[in-house]
Symmetry: C2
Subunit: 102 residues, 2 copies
C-alpha cells in the first residue's frame, strides 16, 4: 500500500505513507491506553483479519512505533509522543462532526 516514491524519503511523506494505510491509525489509537495482546487488539479493531493485523504490526515494529512485550503490544516512547497529537485530532473531529450536522 505504501507508494515507493522519491518523496517518500522526506519524513512527512514517509509518515503519511505509513499512517495512510488502512488500520494503522486505528491500531495506534487503540494502543494509546494500555498494552493489548494480538487477540485483544483484533477485537478492538472490529475483528480485523489477522493477516493484515500482523502485516501492520510488523510495519509498526519496523518503524519503531510499536513493540511486543510480555504485557502485549504497546507503543514505544516516540509513538507515545504521537498521543497528544492524536488527541488534538480527536478534539478537532468532534467540532467537525458537530459542524457536519448543519
Amino acid at each position: 500500500m505504501p507508494n515507493n516514491n522519491k518523496k517518500t524519503q522526506r519524513p512527512i511523506m514517509a509518515l503519511l505513507d505509513l499512517l495512510g494505510q488502512k488500520w494503522v491509525l486505528r491500531i495506534i489509537w487503540e494502543l494509546r491506553d494500555a498494552p493489548l495482546t494480538f487477540r485483544a487488539l483484533r477485537e478492538r479493531c472490529d475483528q480485523i483479519s489477522p493477516t493484515v493485523l500482523n502485516q501492520r504490526l510488523s510495519l509498526l515494529r519496523d518503524a519503531g512505533l510499536v513493540e511486543l512485550t510480555d504485557d502485549g503490544y504497546q507503543p514505544t516512547r516516540p509513538c507515545q509522543e504521537l498521543g497528544p497529537i492524536l488527541m488534538q485530532l480527536s478534539d478537532w473531529s468532534k467540532t467537525w462532526q458537530n459542524a457536519r450536522k448543519d
Copy 2:
C-alpha cells in the same frame, strides 16, 4: 475501505476511518498551501490514478473538508484548522526519522 462499525459513529472513529484511507492524508497535505486543479493535484500525488483521486475528493467534499472553486480544489475552513495539527505531525516525523537512523 471504511469499516461500517457502530464505533464509526464516534467522531474520532469516523475521522480515523477517513484519514486511514489511502491518499487521503496526502491529498489534504498537498492542498495545504494553495488551491490545486485536479490535474495538478494528481501530479503532486505521484500521478495517482484519476479514479481514486476522484473517489477521495468526493469523500472529502462530502465530509466538508475540501471544495472545488474556480481556483481549483482547496481545503475548507474547518480543514484548514487541521493544518497546524498536520504540521505537528510533520515536526514529529523529523525527529522520528532521525531516531530511526540509529
